[in-house]
Amino acid sequence: MNPKVAATADEASFALANEEEDEKAYTAAILMIAAMLGAQDGAFIYRDAQEGIRVLTPGRPNDILLTDDQASQLAHSDEASAFLETLGFSFAYTLIIPITGTAMDACFMAFGRDDRLFNKDDSDAVMGFLPRLSSLISARYRLARSERARREAERAYKKNEERLERLFEESHDMIYSVDNDDAIVSINSAGLALLGLRENSEAIGKGFSSFVFTGTDRAGLLKKAASQGYVDDYEIILKKASGEPIFCIESAYCFRDESGKNSEILGFIKDISERIAQERELWKANMELTATNCKLKEAEVLMVQHEKLASIGQLAAGVAHEINNPLSFLMSNHSVFTQFAQTIRSAWEAILASSPSAVEGIKDRFDIAYVLSEMDTMLAETNDGLTRIMAIVRNLKSFAREEMETVIAPYDINKGIENTLIVARNEIKYVADVELRLGALPEIEASAGEINQVLLNLLVNSAQAIEGQKRKDRGHILIVTKGVGDRAVCEISDDGPGVPDELRHRIFDPFFTTKGPGKGTGLGLSISYDLIVKKHKGSLSVERSPLGGALFRIELPFLHPATDVAGGQDCAKDA
C-alpha cells in the first residue's frame, strides 16, 4: 500500500484537467479506497479521453488498453472478474463495483485481497464514495472529450494545412499571394516554372506587374478584386523571364483585415497558351477560308460574266451579220431616195416657177406643199432611225470584236482622259463640272482606241445620269488617276443618282440599261467590261461614290500581258 495516497477522498485533487492528471486522480482514488478496504490492489476500468477502455492498476507499471470486444466482456461482474484474472489481477477474493450514473459505460472499480472475503460493509463503504466519484468521472470525461475534440481539431487543422501546403506546392497551376502593394509574398513551384524562374528569391518581394505583359491589365484586375473581393477567369498575359508572353487565365481572391482594408490577394493562374494557340489557328483559318470564299464568289461572278459575254458575243455576231446586209441596202436606197426626193422637189419648183397657172389645180388638189414638207421630215426621221440602227449594229460588231483592230501600244491614260473629255464635252458641259485629280503615271501598254471608248462610255453615262435627275444645280464629276502596285487606276465618280445595290450585279450585263427608250442600247458597259477585263486583263467595278453617286474604277496593268491578249483575241475570232 502506498502511504502517500492513504487519504480521504476530499484530499484527492479534483481540479485536474488533462489526461495525465486524470490518471493521477483516479490512481489516488483507487489507492485511497483500497487502503480503506485493506485490499492488496485495486483497478479502475474506464473510458479515457481517446475513448478507449483503459484498465488502470496502480500497482502495475503499464496500463492496459482494451479493444471494444474485450470491453464488452466487462458488462457483467463475473465476466469482469475472470477477465481481470487474465490481466494478472488475481486474488482469492475480488470486489467489483460498477460505477453507474456517469456519462460513460463500462466503468468499474475492482479490489482484490487474499486474506478474507469482501462483505457488505466493504461494498457499502465503496458505494459511499461513488456519488462523489461518479461526478468526478463525469466531469473528467467531459473535460477529456473537450480535450480530445481540441486535439482532433488540431490534428485536422494540421492535416488540412499539410494538404494545402501540398496543394500549393504540387499544383500544376500557379498559386501566389501578394500584399497590399502588389508585391509577391509567396509563389509555388508551378508559378516559378511558368515565369521561367528558378528560385523563390527571384520573385518574392517583387511587384507582380513586372511579370505582366500589359501593366494596365494587372491594374484592371486589382481594381476589380478590390471592388468586388474576387476576380473570376480574368485573362491576363504574363511575361516569362525571357520576355516570352504567356496567355493565362486568373482567379483571385482578396483578403481583408479587421478594418476591412485589403491586405492580401491570393491568385490562381492557369496557362492557357495552348488553348489560345488552337483558337488562334481556328480564327485564322476561318478568316482565310472566308477570304478564299469571297474570292471564289468573285471569280464565279467573273466567270458567269465572261460566259454571258461569250454567248452574247456569238449572238451579236450573228444578229449583226443578219441585220447588216438589209441595213446596207436600206441605207443605200434611203440615200438615193433622199436625192430623188430632192430632184422631184427641184423639178416641182421649176415647173411652179415657169408656169404656175398650169399646175395651180394640181398643187391645191394634192396639197403638194404639205407633202413636200412632210416628206423632208419623214426622210430626216428615217435617216435618224437608220443611223441609230447602224450604231447598234456597229456596237454589236464591236462587242463581237469583228470590227475593231486592237493595237497595243504605249498609252498615257491621263492624256487619254483629256482627249476623251474633248469628245464628250457636248454631253457634259450643260449638266456637270469635271474635276481632275490626275496622278503622275507612267505610260501603260493598251489599245488607246478601246480605252478611250471605255472612258467615253463612263463619262457620258455620268453626264446622262446627272441630267436624268432634273436637278437645279450642276453636277460634279471627279476623275482620279493613281498608281497602285503594278496597276494604273482610274476612278470616275459623280454625284448623280448612283447605281442601286440591287442592280449593281447586273450593270455589266449585255442589253441591261436603266436609260429611257432610245437613250441607250445596254451594250456600253458590257462592252467596256469586256474591253477592260478580257482584252486588257484589268478590272472594272462599280461602287458607291463618296460624292453620293456612282464610282467606276478601272484598273489596268502597266505592262500588257500580250500572250493573254492573243488568247482573248482568238476567243473573239471564234465568237
Binding site: F213, D233, Y234, F247, R280, W283, K284, N286, M287, C294
Partner: protein, 132 residues
C-alpha cells in the same frame, strides 16, 4: 461633340445596350460612308458574346451605310475572346463584302492583337474622317 467622341453613355442608353455587370457600353452613330459602333469598357469572356450578337445585327444597318467602323478607343481591357469577336465580325463583314475598320485602337488592344498575330487582317482608321 466631334464625330470621334460621341457620347457612348447616351447612345448606349438610348439603345438599351448598356450592360453594367459586364462593363461594356455600346454606342451607335454614323459617319460618311459607314455606320459607327463605339464600345467602351472591358471586352472579355463575359461581354464578348453579347457584343458579337449586337454587332451581327449592326452589320445589317452597316450594309445600308456602306461600311462599318468599330471605334474601340474607349476599350480598357480586351481578352483573346474579345479579339476573337473582332475576327468573327471581320468574317461576317467579308461575307457581306462590307468594308470593316477598327478605329482608334488603344495600346491594350493592339498589343493583344499583335501577340495573336491578327493585326494584318484588319483595316485601321485613326479617325472617322479618314474614310472620307
Amino acid at each position: 461633340m466631334s464625330t470621334n467622341q460621341f457620347d457612348i453613355e447616351a447612345s448606349s442608353a438610348a439603345l438599351n445596350i448598356k450592360v453594367p455587370s459586364i462593363h461594356l457600353n455600346i454606342g451607335k452613330s454614323s459617319a460618311p460612308r459607314a455606320l459607327v459602333i463605339a464600345v467602351a469598357g472591358s471586352l472579355d469572356t463575359s461581354s464578348s458574346p453579347p457584343f458579337f450578337e449586337f454587332m451581327k445585327s449592326a452589320l445589317i444597318d452597316a450594309e445600308d451605310a456602306g461600311g462599318l467602323i468599330l471605334d474601340i478607343g474607349a476599350i480598357q481591357y480586351i481578352s483573346s475572346t474579345g479579339v476573337g469577336s473582332f475576327t468573327a465580325i471581320l468574317v461576317e463583314s467579308q461575307k457581306r463584302k462590307l468594308p470593316f475598320y477598327l478605329c482608334r485602337v488603344p495600346n491594350c488592344v493592339s498589343s493583344v492583337m499583335q501577340l495573336l498575330g491578327f493585326q494584318a487582317f484588319f483595316s485601321y482608321l485613326e479617325s472617322y474622317e479618314e474614310l472620307v
